[in-house]
């Protein structure tokens, strides 16, 4: 049995005075232990919604999620979650952030100290343990967020656009750091992204989701040796094939989303990338604003 099993998930959002919006329907896939899987798709196709359900912060209308044979019914330390904005606690130092899961799970001092050293080793954060998140660069914050999620040895690491907020020049560098970090931690990863290049660079397998109810339009293995070269012909072929698939996924969105698209973007299909990116940032903001924690 696979480590993660997602079975027939359906999720609908209902808002006042609007028809119910089916975000995901009949969604199924599974992830083997040790795999690095990317969920790739245009903005608004339901990637964050899916990952949020994997995290246990939200429940599906129908369908089940199993992790290591156990049904997912709420958040828990068997899943390490890295948020798009990292959600590092700004009032805690790097060390306190990293050790938070061990603290609330009452690990003793010796265990905590030992784990801290291991995590500082793999994240190359020695010397920064007493700094506050505000004092760190974007890349360091990302590493803190990843090792914090890894601290209590989760079965799986869930990453929501871990580099979404990083500007273009830094992204490739941080992708390399992330690859090395995950490699050392030897963990299973499900990562959400809308960046084709990033998904090919990092993943063993890319699942392309459609803007139409999150339908899986492609499940592709990336058969390239690591560390990967972005310059290689094979890499570029994967990128162009997936780019075409993402376009298709975007077009499948159909007309029911028209109302969600800013007026200036409607019918601007020729400038696909620009409108796509603009929508992306917009939807991310909207979704983050809405998703209040269940208290």
């Amino acid at each position: 049995m696979a480590l993660l099993e997602v079975k027939d998930i359906r999720k609908t959002f209902t808002q006042k005075r609007k028809p119910p919006h089916i975000v995901l329907e009949n969604l199924s896939f599974s992830v083997e232990r040790g795999q690095y899987v990317s969920l790739l798709g245009p903005s608004g196709c339901g990637k964050t919604t899916l990952l949020t359900m994997l995290g246990g912060f939200m429940s599906a209308d129908t369908g089940q999620i199993y992790l290591a044979g156990k049904k997912v019914e709420g958040p828990g330390p068997d899943r390490g979650f890295v948020f798009q904005n990292y959600a590092l606690f700004p009032w805690m130092t790097v060390q306190e952030n990293i050790l938070y899961s061990l603290k609330v799970q009452n690990f003793n001092k010796r265990e905590r100290e030992k784990r801290l050293q291991e995590l500082l080793d793999i994240s190359h954060l020695h010397g920064s343990e007493n700094k506050y998140p505000i004092q760190l660069s974007g890349g360091m914050q990302q590493r803190v967020a990843v090792v914090r999620a890894l601290a209590s040895r989760p079965e799986i690491l869930l990453l929501d656009e871990p580099l979404g907020a990083i500007d273009f020049q830094m992204r490739e560098l941080l992708q390399e750091e992330l690859a090395a970090l995950v490699e050392e931690a030897q963990t299973t990863v499900v990562m959400v992204t809308h960046d084709v290049n990033e998904s090919v660079y990092l993943s063993d397998r890319v699942i392309v989701m459609s803007a139409n109810k999150g339908r899986i339009i492609k499940d592709m293995y990336i058969d390239l040796p690591r560390p990967r070269s972005r310059q290689s012909q094979a890499f570029k072929e994967y990128v162009s094939e997936l780019t075409e698939l993402v376009r298709q996924a975007f077009r499948e969105g159909g007309s029911y989303r028209q109302a969600d698209i800013p007026a200036r973007d409607r019918g601007v299909d020729n400038n696909f990338v620009a409108s796509y990116n603009r929508m992306h940032s917009r939807y991310t903001n909207v979704a983050n604003g809405r998703s209040r924690a269940v208290k």
């Binding site: 995290g55 828990g76 805690m92 505000i134 004092q135 660069s137 830094m170 983050n288």
Partner: protein, 277 residues
């Protein structure tokens, strides 16, 4: 590598440079100039009016001001007023902060308490004076009550805003790491709302200090506000001015203490952003 935080590279500005030592005191220097100008205007006006009952000379007021700090009666009454302010503030804190935390955290508490709170808040603070005298008689009781009454709302409202402003992902992150509800309150809700709670403290203290003086005009026969009424009755205008300046300075000093406390309690907010490679 990119820069983070608020550090802006210093592109040599066009300010007149008078050396590093001066730059450090530039602010105080300007304040001093303003004070001197005010003093000159004051004396010119006093010269013109020629009525020390309305406007005593600056020098006269300054003398009163200096002697006031050595006057045991004034110091005793100042101490009394300060004690009232801190007592009232303490009550307001004990009620306002937990109330704010509860209302910010629980939608049910918010829905049931907000209308009540928002209407009580609209009653002018001085309108409580008669009732507070009926309840507590004259003396410390009504003044402390009025201070608490004026301080509790800024505290509660800022605490609510603080809790509501906490990024929902902080809760999600903590929960996914295994935090219990108690952990969430201790590690997320309280520290997350702390900056606003401390702002609330400053505003509450200011409101308390302002209302105590008014309350002492009416509801008591001791305290700093009472001294002002006394000075007015005895037609000692210079002393009245001196007392007013004093009350302003004491309020200012209290605020400074709170600012220092704020910096200490939430030092993580005041670190420099990341700079470098």
């Amino acid at each position: 590598m990119e820069r983070h935080g608020s550090t802006i590279p210093d592109v040599g500005n066009a300010r007149l440079s008078l050396g590093d030592a001066f730059d450090k005191y530039r602010g105080s220097f300007y304040t001093l100039i303003v004070l001197v100008i005010l003093m000159i205007i004051w004396n010119l006006a006093a010269n013109k009016i020629q009525n020390t009952l309305l406007l005593p000379y600056f020098s006269e007021t300054a003398m009163e001001f200096i002697t006031a700090w050595g006057d045991p009666v004034i110091m005793f009454n100042l101490g009394l007023t300060l004690k009232r302010v801190f007592t009232g503030f303490l009550y307001a804190f004990i009620i306002g902060v937990p109330l704010g935390l509860l209302m910010g955290y629980s939608a049910t508490a918010m829905q049931s308490l907000a209308p009540l709170m928002n209407s009580i808040r609209q009653v002018p603070i001085m309108a409580w004076v008669p009732l507070s005298i009926i309840w507590f008689g004259l003396g410390d009781g009504p003044t402390v009550f009025l201070i608490a009454m004026s301080a509790v709302f800024p505290l509660a409202i800022n605490t609510i805003a603080g809790v509501e402003g906490i990024d929902s992902n902080y809760y999600n992150a903590a929960r996914s790491m295994g935090a219990s509800r108690r952990d969430l309150v201790r590690d997320i809700v309280v520290p997350g709302a702390m900056p606003n709670i401390l702002t609330g403290c400053r505003l509450a203290m200011g409101a308390g200090w302002m209302s105590v003086i008014c309350a002492e005009f009416i509801a008591t026969s001791a305290g700093f506000g009472f001294l002002m009424v006394e000075a007015q009755v005895r037609l000692e205008t210079a002393q009245l001015y001196a007392l007013m300046v004093m009350s302003g300075l004491v309020g200012y000093a209290i605020d400074k203490v709170f600012v220092a406390f704020e910096r200490k309690m939430t030092s993580w907010r005041f670190k420099d952003g990341f700079v470098g490679s």
